[in-house]
């Protein structure tokens, strides 16, 4: 029984127990032990569907174990452990419970074998994660959290609507591939389910909640946020929509546009949020291509990405923790006093840029080669371009502006030991996977028949990156590199935060003006009619005065004459 128990339960039970433990180290220890237990449970869970319970006539599968769910479950457990270790100093009960529930529900979603279970955990991640934003406890964080929650819950509402329609159409709640005979054959329910996944996966135009919310969370909260929600959505896409061709193009767009936003963004945690969006694009391309190699690439990239993205968020978080800011314009020269954090950041940057011997290289190659093998030359070229873009914002911008560039004069103390330990372990994992790719490849959903370290491949990647680095050096030297300055950049959120409110205000103003004019006009009209009637029938009016009897007799005679005339006409007719 124990080996097929859903690991989500362990997180949820721990979250319930945590407030009853004495404050301090014991609670932090619990947040560390739970992910370890979860990882062991997932590692030992036998393949197949377990823990099927009957609820209101529906069979809910709480533990569907196969290689795809196992690799996501494992990396989520690892991420939860690293995030908790990084947050060892946090004594805020709200954040500790939220992190446990957030990781637990994300893992629960990964092992869900039916859509109802998925929906429950799907909303669970939204409800638990928002507290990591609110835990900053400022006005801005509160409002950002509300926007985040509305969009996250909204995605769940769309999901349940899609599930209901899909159930009506197909009679099945099983969380399996929905691709059928291609998008032409999909009913509305399937489209809604895809739409719900797309919101959490930050598809283009639905992406902005990510860049809005992640930089607003606490130092430690952002590390947890970066791991779960979006990769849970990637898992769901890989499960339900593998080989859906248009996702290739959706993913390609996702790899492109965040590069430009990231490049001019001043808050380094938001730069990383844009970069996260760009990395999701590679995974979505893998889902779209849908071959075994491509899906392996998506899973491998999700695994590697969670580690190096967490590492980058940790290093920028450590800077924020010590200096109070993560803005590039306020930072610089920190290698002097935070050299370890700097080195770990550089490892993360090298990993995300996919330098050979780092984790990004052995994961991203799978997706690029899968796209090339299936003959998508334009998509492949976009991905190569985007790979240079990754170097520009995550590979260079993050470490350069935080730790080098111009000296900010700040001399912060090195990050605390537990943060350094968390970063060190993550950095070690990034390099280990890069040097021994077979360890990660063994976990992938399909058999891997791929050799990333060929001379040709290493040469190509080194050329791409080193020439791009050279371009950076020259642009910097000759003053073409844009300065970091304070400010924000508008994105699609402008539509619902400025444009739509402006439309509402304009419409409301227009309606109220028109209405008040109508009311005023009606008043004037009624007044005019009233005064006209008074003039005619009122005292002293034409119809209101005394008339002579003779006048009445005369009018009576005219009336009778007219009647006679009409009668005569009628007879003759």
């Amino acid at each position: 029984m124990f080996d097929s128990l859903p690991p989500a339960f362990v997180f949820i039970v721990a979250a319930i127990l945590l407030p009853y433990l004495p404050r301090g180290g014991i609670r932090a220890v619990l947040t560390l032990i739970v992910p370890v237990i979860s990882g062991i449970m997932i590692w030992n869970a036998p393949a197949g569907s377990h823990f099927v319970i009957s609820l209101a006539g529906m069979d809910l599968t709480l533990m569907r174990v196969d290689k795809l769910s196992t690799i996501f479950g494992l990396i989520f457990s690892i991420a939860a452990f690293l995030a908790s270790l990084y947050a060892w100093h946090v004594r805020d009960t709200v954040q500790q419970i939220a992190t446990l529930l957030y990781a637990g529900t994300a893992i629960g979603a990964v092992f869900a074998g039916d859509f109802i279970t998925l929906f429950i955990y799907w909303e669970g991640t939204a409800l638990s994660s928002v507290f990591l934003i609110w835990a900053r406890r400022t006005e801005g964080a509160y409002q950002t959290g509300m926007r985040y929650l509305i969009i996250q819950i909204g995605s769940g509402v769309v999901l349940i609507a899609g599930i209901a329609l899909h159930y009506q159409a197909s009679g099945s709640l099983a969380f399996l591939a929905l691709t059928g005979a291609g998008p032409q054959s999909w009913d509305l329910g399937v489209w809604l389910i895809l739409f719900a996944f797309g919101i959490k996966c930050a598809f283009p135009l639905m992406h902005n909640w990510l860049q809005d919310a992640y930089p607003a969370a606490t130092v430690t909260g952002t590390v947890a946020l970066s791991a779960f929600t979006t990769k849970m959505a990637v898992y769901c896409l890989a499960r339900a929509f593998p080989g859906t061709e248009f996702l290739i193009y959706v993913g390609a767009v996702m790899t492109l546009f965040p590069i430009f936003f990231a490049e001019i963004e001043n808050d380094l945690r938001r730069v990383l949020a844009y970069s996260l969006n760009n990395q999701l694009g590679f995974m979505v391309v893998g889902v779209g291509v849908g071959t075994e190699m491509a899906l392996n690439g998506t899973a491998a990239h999700a695994f590697a990405h969670i580690l190096y993205k967490a590492l980058l968020f940790m290093s920028v978080g450590a800077v924020l923790f010590r200096t109070g800011t993560s803005k590039a314009s306020e930072l610089g020269g920190l290698y002097r006093t935070m050299p370890w954090t700097m080195m770990f950041c550089v490892v993360g940057a090298a990993s995300i840029s996919a330098f050979p011997l780092f984790s990004g290289f052995i994961a991203k190659s799978l997706i690029l080669d899968a796209a090339a093998e299936e003959h998508y030359p334009i998509v492949w070229a976009v991905l190569v371009f985007a790979s240079a873009g990754v170097l520009s914002h995550s590979g260079i911008k993050i470490p350069y502006f935080a730790f080098f560039a111009h000296d900010s004069g700040k001399r912060p103390k090195e990050a605390p030991p537990h943060m350094l330990l968390a970063m060190g372990l993550t950095a070690f994992a990034c390099i280990f996977i890069g040097v021994f790719p077979s360890t990660l490849y063994a976990l992938l959903p399909y058999e891997v028949n791929y050799q990333p370290y060929t001379v040709s491949h290493v040469l190509a990647q080194m050329q791409l990156l080193v020439f791009a680095l050279f371009a950076f050096a020259l642009l910097m030297r000759f003053g073409f590199f844009p300065d970091e300055k304070r400010g924000i950049n508008v994105d699609t959120d402008w539509t619902y935060r400025k444009f739509l409110p402006a439309i509402v205000v304009f419409s409301a103003t227009a309606i109220s003006v028109v209405w008040s004019e109508i009311v005023r006009g009606t008043h004037l009209l009624l007044a005019a009619i009233g005064s006209g009637l008074t003039r005619i029938y009122g005292f002293g009016g034409q119809a209101g005065g005394m008339q002579r009897t003779g006048t009445m007799v005369l009018w009576l005679a005219i009336l009778l004459g007219a009647t006679l005339f009409v009668t005569l006409l009628d007879i003759s007719g």
Partner: protein, 116 residues
């Protein structure tokens, strides 16, 4: 800059102090030249015939190098103009965002190097 007035040795981490050389102008020039030589070597390596690919364009010597150089330059130069269009002040969205506010000190442990 190394040896700048504000770089007091007691303010630096021992590893940080050893890294100060990277800010010396002559070293920056050396690094750029070194990078250029590395680029040239990688370009020449393409003529050994060890590189192949799925698409014919990939076979052109220096394909990836040119791609990397141009992509990077294009991104940097184009974003200068992008910022002119979409850049706003930090308080553009008023109090509804965290950008204009300071991170609350309760969640931080600000320490200067040398503090105990």
């Amino acid at each position: 800059m190394a040896g700048k007035k504000n770089d007091k040795p007691e303010e630096l981490h021992p590893i940080g102090a050893k890294l100060l050389w990277i800010e010396k102008p002559q070293n920056i020039t050396r690094m750029i030249i070194g990078l250029g030589i590395f680029c040239a070597l990688l370009f020449l390596a393409d003529f050994t015939g060890m590189r192949y690919g799925h698409f014919s364009a990939e076979g052109i010597p220096g394909f990836y190098g040119v791609m990397g150089f141009l992509a990077f330059s294009f991104i940097i130069i184009s974003t200068k103009y992008l910022r002119m269009i979409i850049g706003r002040r930090e308080d553009y969205y008023g109090k509804s965002v965290v950008d204009p506010e300071d991170y609350p000190d309760a969640g931080l442990e600000k320490r200067e190097h040398g503090d105990v």
